[in-house]
Symmetry: C2
Subunit: 281 residues, 2 copies
């Protein structure tokens, strides 16, 4: 099953038979003081810079998140989305929990963007999905509901089913729903990795939909986060993950994804791998 997203000039397919899709995570002020400060001032220069840098590094989609203390999301998110759409020609992932900021941003976003996100909570399903349907875009469904993030994979599968059913009921095809099974931190729970892997495998096999994951939460609080993240990625991709929200400027992450695509038969004659190798990744 393919999810199709469109930027101003580029179309991106997500699916198990095409190369793994990288959603660039860098336009997010969490933990980034400079970006937060510039967003508070309404200054879009860093947003533009990060969009270009990620696209140049091979990101397929750019995530745009402006959530930070003192940032007026309803004014700033649409501006940031418009800035990214003007800077790069690839699809955009609009990342907010603020419904009005989302609606405004969709108005300014060309192509077929990805909405990040709806959850399994009734409120979220009832507000976000009709907007996704109306605008004909795609949506990330987070495996969380009124009871929080389930500790086991089976419950995450259930929430996924519920989100897909709700989408289908209002006419959104399941190809337009990308499930994020979530990963809690391995430092706090030794079973966190296995739970996420089981959830991805179950969602891919039983529901057949695409999946995505924030690539770094698993390592929170530990040293060598990039090592942990890039060791987790091949497992996730092998289990069925078809996209991830990661830092495309981390060369080791890029190299690992190129190797994973090669190893899983998505890079005939190692063509892409060799090309990236020759170009210094």
């Amino acid at each position: 099953m393919h999810t199709t997203l469109e930027g101003t000039a580029k179309t991106v397919l997500i699916g198990s038979e095409v190369p793994f899709v990288v959603i660039g995570e860098r336009i997010n002020p969490s933990g980034k003081r400079n970006l937060a400060e510039s967003l508070r001032r309404g200054d879009m220069s860093l947003v533009r810079q990060e969009a270009l840098a990620q696209a140049n590094a091979g990101a397929h989609i750019i995530d745009v998140n402006v959530t930070a203390e003192g940032v007026d999301e309803e004014a700033i998110l649409p501006l940031a989305v418009q800035t990214v759409a003007e800077a790069v020609d690839i699809p955009i992932c609009i990342d907010t929990a603020d419904f009005r900021a989302l609606a405004e941003s969709l108005d300014r976003c060309p192509g077929t963007p990805l909405v990040n996100s709806v959850t399994g909570e009734a409120d979220s399903l009832q507000t976000v999905l009709p907007l996704v349907k109306e605008r004909g875009c795609a949506v990330i469904g987070l495996c969380v509901d009124e009871d929080g993030v389930p500790a086991d994979a089976g419950k995450r599968l259930e929430i996924s089913q519920r989100m897909i059913r709700a989408a289908e009921e209002i006419g959104i095809s399941k190809a337009s729903v990308i499930i994020d099974p979530l990963a809690t931190t391995i430092g706090a729970d030794g079973g966190a990795g296995i739970t996420t892997l089981l959830a991805i495998r179950a969602i891919a096999e039983e529901l057949g939909v695409n999946t995505t994951l924030g690539g770094s939460n698993i390592s929170f609080g530990l040293p060598e986060r990039s090592l942990i993240n890039r060791s987790f990625l091949p497992m996730l991709i092998e289990a069925g993950l078809t996209s991830a929200i990661v830092d495309p400027l981390d060369v080791e992450i890029r190299r690992t994804i190129a190797a994973a695509d090669l190893l899983l038969g998505r890079d005939e004659y190692a063509e892409k791998f060799l090309q990236r190798f020759r170009n210094g990744w």
Copy 2:
């Protein structure tokens, strides 16, 4: 299911609930002119040095292979095995296709070594397995038979079943048989990685036995072999691989295995991971 091996002082368990087991590959003259030359002279200094270096780097088992043009295996392999057994206290993996060299080497090897290997060929099963039974050791079963290495995972599973049945018929428990599903090169066959992963998963789930793999054949002929190998390892371990024959002096391989154990819940409170991090891996 646990496979238990013993060195002069250390016991090693292989299994899906214990940390991944590293079999050090460096005592092998293939592609190593100095080692080949010293083996031809019967000089054991490099063998001793490589055994110590690998044990210090955290290898759990030392593979000993002396096969090279001009090396008299029946004389040299037993000497090399004895040298390693005197140098380190961990189990030994005796790696030869020469039956008499194997029998002689087992005579000189203390503890419970691993025999590398038997194949699915009738000749091999009929000669190697009785020796394994008589000496009470364990054996690696290679998924190859009279027709070569099967191109599909199902046939590799069949050969595994045949080898295990032959072992059980003469009283070797299946806990003492470790299957090597083999990996062909991804540069020549884009499906090579998937076939090996499918075979490992099938062998682990349907037969419940331990598995091992030479960690570097997959990348033969390509640049960035260490990158490809260490991106494959997390997939293999997640699919059920419980040991591998790799270079323990490759720090990136060591780091990847530590991260994989952490991610798969075999390192409670990240204790080993943090210890290795503090000790500079």
